[in-house]
C-alpha cells in the first residue's frame, strides 16, 4: 500500500518540531556530529545528516552549544556540548514539552472515550 503523503508530511512536521529538544538532550556529554547521529539513531530518533550538522552549527551560533576541536586522533573532530545557556534552556524547553505532551495526551484520551 502506498503511504498517504499528507500523513507522512504531518508526521515529519511533528518530529521536526521536537528535533532541537532531542539534540540538546543528548549533549550533556560532548559529541561530534557523526557520533550524535548514531546515538540518536540507536535511541529510535533517526535524523538526517543534512539536517543535524547544520542544526548543530546554528545552535552553536545561538550560544546554546560550545565546541572544541579534538585533534589528538588521526582525524580532527569537532565536539559539541551544552553551554550554561543551553543547559538552562533545555530544562525550560523540556518542561514546556512535558506540559504540552500531557495536554495533547488528554485531548486524545478524551476522544478515545467517545
Amino acid at each position: 500500500m502506498k503511504e498517504d503523503p499528507i500523513l507522512s508530511n504531518l508526521i515529519t512536521e511533528l518530529k521536526r518540531g521536537n528535533l532541537t529538544l532531542c539534540v540538546l538532550s543528548q549533549l550533556k556529554k560532548p559529541q561530534y556530529g557523526y557520533s550524535l547521529l548514531q546515538l540518536l539513531a540507536d535511541k529510535q530518533i533517526p535524523i538526517e545528516a543534512n539536517t543535524l550538522y547544520p542544526l548543530l552549527r546554528r545552535l552553536e551560533v545561538q550560544e546554546l552549544l560550545s565546541s572544541t576541536w579534538d585533534t589528538s586522533e588521526a582525524r580532527p573532530r569537532k565536539f559539541y556540548v551544552l553551554s550554561d545557556k543551553g543547559t538552562a534552556l533545555l530544562s525550560e524547553l523540556g518542561k514546556a514539552w512535558q506540559e504540552h505532551y500531557q495536554r495533547v495526551g488528554a485531548l486524545l484520551a478524551e476522544e478515545g472515550h467517545e
Partner: protein, 326 residues
C-alpha cells in the same frame, strides 16, 4: 576519492557567508569522513554524498533562513507602494507627455498622439518598478523593519468603521483609468477636431465642429477632467468617504456636467453642413442636445445622491461613542 568530498564541501560552503566558510568546510568534511568510515570505495563515497542531499539545499540549512529579494513580511507593503508609485508616475507621465505634445511647434499626427504617451508610460513604469524593487530589496537585505501596520487596539477599532463608507479601490481605479482615456480623447479632439466627422464613401468627410472655435472650450474641459482626476486619486488614496471628500467629489462631478452642457449648447460651434445631413436641422439638434443634457444631469445627481446616502447614513451612530450599534 577525497577529491569528490572536497568538491562537495566546496560547493556547499560557496553559498555561505565568508566568515563561516572555513569552519563549516572543516567540520563538514570531518563528518563526511566519519560517515564513510573505512570503506572509501568510490561507490560508497558516492552513496554517502547522495544521501547528504544537494549542496545548495544543505547550504540553505546552514544559513537557517530562506533568501528573498523581497521577504514575505515586507511583500504586502512593497506591493502597496509599488501600485501607488506606478499609478502616480503613470498618470504624471501621461499628462506631461500629452501637454508637451500640444505645445510642440509642428502639428502632431494621431499615431504619435497615441504612441508617444504609451512609450513614455512604459519607460516610466519600468523605472518606477526598478527603483521601488531595489529600495525594498536593500531594505530587506539589511533587515529594515517595514511591516505594513501595527496591530493594536487602535488598529482594531479602525477596522470597525462602517464598511459601507469604504470606497472600493477597484472603483477608484476604474474612475482613474476612465478619466485618463477621456483626457486622451479630449487631447485628440483639441489637436484634430476635424476627426469627429461624418465619413462618406464618395465625398469628403464633413466635420461636426468648427475646429478653431472649439479649441478654447476643449482646454477648459480638460481642466475639469484634471480636477476630477485629482479627486478620484484622493478617493483612491483615502479609501474611505469623509464629508469633505464627498463635497469635493460631488462638486467636480457637477462642475464636469455643467461645463459639458455649457459647451454642448454653444450652437455656434457646430458645423451647419453636418447638421443638415444628420438630424436634419439645427432645431432638431438642439432638442437632442437639451434632452441629452437633462438625462446626463439626472444621472449625475443620482450618482451623487447615492454617494451622499453612503456617506451620511452611518455617520451619526458611529459618533455616538463606545457603545456602538451594529
Amino acid at each position: 576519492m577525497s577529491d569528490l568530498i572536497g568538491r562537495y564541501v566546496e560547493e556547499t560552503v560557496r553559498h555561505l557567508s565568508l566568515k563561516e566558510r572555513a569552519e563549516v568546510a572543516k567540520e563538514l568534511e570531518a563528518n563526511i569522513q566519519d560517515m564513510i568510515g573505512g570503506d572509501d570505495s568510490e561507490q560508497h563515497v558516492e552513496q554517502v554524498l547522495l544521501d547528504m542531499g544537494s549542496p545548495s539545499v544543505l547550504a540553505k540549512q546552514y544559513r537557517g533562513k530562506e533568501r528573498y529579494l523581497i521577504g514575505p513580511e515586507t511583500f504586502d507593503f512593497y506591493w502597496m507602494v509599488l501600485k501607488l508609485v506606478c499609478l502616480v508616475v503613470g498618470i504624471v507621465t501621461v499628462v506631461i507627455t500629452l501637454i508637451s505634445l500640444f505645445f510642440t511647434e509642428s502639428p502632431v499626427g494621431i499615431g504619435t498622439m497615441i504612441a508617444k504617451p504609451i512609450a513614455s508610460l512604459f519607460s516610466a513604469l519600468s523605472g518606477a518598478f526598478l527603483w521601488v524593487t531595489i529600495t525594498f530589496a536593500i531594505m530587506d537585505y539589511y533587515q529594515v523593519n517595514a511591516t505594513l501596520e501595527s496591530w493594536d487596539a487602535k488598529a482594531l477599532h479602525d477596522l470597525e468603521e462602517a464598511p459601507t463608507r469604504l470606497i472600493k479601490k477597484s472603483d477608484s481605479i476604474a474612475d482613474l483609468v476612465g478619466l485618463s482615456v477621456f483626457f486622451l480623447l479630449l487631447a485628440v479632439l483639441f489637436n484634430r477636431p476635424e476627426l469627429i466627422a461624418l465619413y462618406r464613401k464618395d465625398a469628403a468627410p464633413v466635420p461636426l465642429f468648427i475646429g478653431q472655435a472649439l479649441r478654447p472650450y476643449v482646454i477648459g474641459w480638460m481642466a475639469t477632467v484634471i480636477l476630477s482626476f485629482i479627486v478620484s486619486a484622493l478617493k483612491w488614496f483615502k479609501g474611505k468617504w469623509t464629508s469633505t471628500l464627498f463635497v469635493l467629489s460631488a462638486s467636480v462631478d457637477l462642475l464636469g456636467i455643467i461645463y459639458f452642457i455649457f459647451v454642448a449648447t454653444r450652437w455656434k460651434l457646430y458645423n451647419p453642413a453636418f447638421l443638415t445631413i444628420f438630424p436634419g436641422s439645427m432645431t432638431r439638434w438642439q432638442i437632442i442636445i437639451k434632452a441629452a443634457s437633462v438625462v446626463l444631469l439626472i444621472l449625475t445627481l443620482i450618482g451623487n445622491g447615492d454617494d451622499a446616502y453612503t456617506v451620511f447614513r452611518r455617520t451619526r451612530p458611529d459618533e455616538a461613542g463606545p457603545a456602538r450599534q451594529r
